[in-house]
């Protein structure tokens, strides 16, 4: 991987922003309902368990990639050879593309339901994808810069939680640990879906200067995400009760409704617009990484790979029509993501350990 010139690389601390912006996407707008389904008011414990388990996964990913000094495509090639490795990489890229599609389509749904009911999917997707294209074409440095921008623009949205806390029922969180271990684990499984997104590091890691140094930042990024989710879950749980939460599709968005500023009565419209700065870096990092992956795999120019991808995503985006389909898309993609992170990455890790030993004995 030494062929990447320094002026195309990004600083190690950028891993912090790229990890959090990829993790926090559309899920946070309404994930409370899903995790509360199994563990009720104790679901915040699952948020912590899920977040910590992802730290282990980050450690594995870094071990996996730094040992081979390559991205996931290189690792696949080294471990499984050109054909099987190529096929695995291809499947992985398809998964990554579908996560981009999910984020895009869900955000479009939010816009359509909350702001512009009569605005068609094609229009919004053309605008969003066009915008994303114009950033991605600028390269990884522009994309990383965008994620920093998005991070700081969305940070003040935390302050809005204050309005919900004025109306809080703190007893909703009691008694602590009133659910069984299996219920907590079921909720943990649900919450891991919201931590997905950091696995793109598999593709962009070679672009981080001194990857070893960036590992600590990736961990911090993941912990920041955990902290964000924890606050979100706490506030939603004390504002809504459990039964009411099950009737609320977008708990966080509904919370923005109670914001009462002297100059703006309906803050959620501004909030949804601001959320573009969370979604856009998300799309851009995804598009950049996958187009880079295609370029590495098939020796196609990254630019043309990007264009084809955008076209395919655009078409798929239009094909998803109603709420049920968006919901199915979300569940399926996150289920696959769950297995990729919790089964496939540990599997690769073990394979690498074994093959490393085999190689050593051969050489020795």
């Amino acid at each position: 991987m030494s062929q990447i010139s320094v002026n195309k690389q990004i600083s190690p601390y950028m891993a912090f922003y790229m990890v959090t912006t990829m993790q926090i996407g559309v899920g946070i707008l309404g994930f409370e309902r899903y995790i509360a389904k199994s563990a009720g008011h104790d679901a915040w414990i699952s948020v912590i368990i899920g977040g910590l388990s992802f730290n282990v996964l980050i450690w594995m990913i870094y071990r996996l990639l730094t040992k081979e000094n390559a991205d996931i495509i290189g690792v696949h090639r080294n471990l499984f050879g050109r054909w099987i490795g190529g096929a695995l990489s291809f499947l992985l890229l398809i998964y990554f593309s579908s996560t981009i599609l999910t984020v895009l389509r869900t955000y479009i749904e939010v816009i359509q339901i909350w702001v512009f009911p009569e605005l068609g999917t094609p229009i919004i997707s053309i605008i969003l994808l066009g915008l994303a294209y114009s950033y991605v074409i600028g390269g990884i440095r522009v994309v990383a810069g965008l994620s920093v921008l998005g991070f700081f623009i969305s940070l003040p949205l935390f302050l809005l939680k204050y309005y919900a806390l004025k109306n809080a029922h703190y007893t909703n969180l009691l008694p602590i640990l009133d659910h069984s271990f299996s219920e907590l684990m079921a909720a943990t499984r649900g919450v891991t879906l919201d931590y997905l997104g950091l696995e793109l590091i598999l593709l962009y890691m070679p672009f981080l200067k001194q990857p070893e140094k960036s590992q600590k930042w990736a961990h911090f990024g993941n912990l920041f995400t955990m902290f964000t989710y924890l606050i979100t879950v706490f506030v939603s749980f004390v504002y809504f009760n459990q039964e009411q939460l099950q009737h609320t599709i977008w708990a966080t968005l509904t919370l923005w409704k109670i914001v009462d500023l002297p100059f703006a009565q309906r803050f959620e419209y501004a909030g949804i617009a601001l959320w573009l700065f969370v979604i856009l870096p998300n799309l851009c990092i995804g598009l950049w990484s996958v187009s880079r992956g295609i370029h590495r795999l098939y020796k196609i120019k990254q630019k043309s790979a990007l264009r084809t991808m955008i076209l395919v995503i655009f078409i798929c985006c239009i094909l998803v029509v109603d709420r049920q389909q968006v919901d199915i898309l979300n569940t399926k993609v996150s289920q696959i993501g769950f297995y990729i992170l919790y089964a496939y990455i540990p599997f690769l890790f073990v394979i690498q350990l074994i093959s490393g030993k085999v190689r050593k004995t051969k050489n020795g």
Partner: protein, 359 residues
């Protein structure tokens, strides 16, 4: 390159046709209050109050009421449209009123259409009206520019002092939540005034009882800490004095929730004597007597209210939810079965800390 640019510009021009239509404030009718009246078993009369701004400065808006009868509330809005010169927008809706007969049948379906609409806020007030909501909304009140503004200020003011807080969020919170039941303010039109007459007690979404205004104050003491409100107490030989609540606090204690539960509720009121004709309030021993008299009077009344709630099987205070938050493995069914017979003891503790500026 030039061709490409032209193509892009051309597509952008084509796109404009797909953008949503604009909504301009002057071109829509903002509905600020809705009232639902009982018509027949499956029909509801919907009254929408619209404030129409007048030309010129300092001229108050005129209010108009549009009425339609149908089965579902959205349909009714469509029917009203036939009379209105401009399309309705309910994004600025401030209050929803429900006729008492309708409330006895259940109002959830009507509230649901409101909560489903993303353009509506969470601080919408709701109230139950004794009598027709139509006549209430049609009246011009000298106290305020439009009925909706009047209602808004009236409820806002009363929820600080006399009646439990309740907006659409609180209603839904208590409707969906287990171990609690909603309450709504009860209002009535009296001539050219609107009066808060008490609190409507609801079981699920049906009105099953009501409390007078004085009792609503006591119910509020049981439900939430607050800083206002006045209560009148009878003293020796037909003398009356009023006590103003400066700060109230409530504490709950549950015993043996799993088998045979009992509840103790402690209410602490810090107040001042605001009216005491013929009673020399500067006397410290007398202050103590007034405190005791208030405690006895409030205790008696509050325990009656609690009995009434238990008899009607409504948990307006939300004791079930409080019990849940203090018990591991709480069983709602068991609690609900026992609720009417649970011994609930309320103890009021009154502390008079001032008696005004004269002696």
């Amino acid at each position: 390159m030039a061709k490409k640019k032209l193509l892009i510009i051309f597509t952008l021009i084509l796109l404009t046709g797909c953008f949503p239509s604009k909504k301009i404030l002057e071109d829509v009718q903002l509905v600020s209050a809705v009232g639902y009246d009982y018509k027949s078993n499956n029909q509801v009369e919907l009254n929408g109050m619209v404030a129409i701004p007048q030309r010129g400065e300092d001229i108050p808006p005129i209010s108009q009421v549009f009425t339609a009868t149908t089965n579902t509330s959205k349909m009714a809005r469509a029917l009203e449209q036939a009379e209105s010169p401009k399309p309705f927008e309910i994004g600025r809706l401030e209050i929803a009123l429900y006729n008492n007969r309708l409330a006895e049948k259940g109002i959830y379906d009507l509230v649901d259409t409101l909560q489903r609409d993303p353009s509506l806020g969470r601080d919408l007030y709701m109230a139950i009206v004794n009598g027709s909501t139509k006549t209430l909304l049609k009246q011009q009140y000298p106290l305020s520019e439009t009925p909706s503004k009047y209602l808004l200020q009236l409820l806002d003011q009363n929820m600080k002092a006399n009646i439990p807080k309740s907006n659409i969020h609180d209603f839904l919170y208590r409707y969906y939540g287990k171990g609690m039941d909603p309450n709504l303010p009860l209002i009535e039109k009296q001539g050219d005034r609107i009066r808060v007459v008490g609190t409507a007690l609801l079981k699920d979404d049906k009105m099953v009882g009501q409390l007078k205004l004085e009792d609503s104050f006591l119910l509020k003491l049981l439900m939430e800490p607050f800083e206002k409100g006045i209560y009148e107490v009878k003293f020796k030989n037909n003398q009356f004095f009023t006590i103003q609540n400066l700060k109230s606090k409530v504490e709950y204690r549950f015993k043996d929730v799993k088998r045979s539960p009992s509840v103790d509720i402690f209410v602490h009121v810090k107040g001042r004597v605001s009216e005491a004709p013929k009673i020399p309030v500067s006397d410290p021993s007398l202050i103590e007597q007034l405190e005791r008299a208030t405690e006895i009077a409030m205790n008696k009344r509050i325990n009656k209210i609690v009995k009434k709630l238990q008899k009607a099987k409504v948990d307006t205070i939300g004791l079930g939810d409080l019990a849940r938050s203090r018990t591991r493995g709480f069983d709602f069914k068991h609690w609900d079965d026992q609720y009417p017979d649970i011994p609930i003891n309320v103890k009021v503790n009154v502390e008079i800390i001032q008696a005004g500026i004269t002696e």
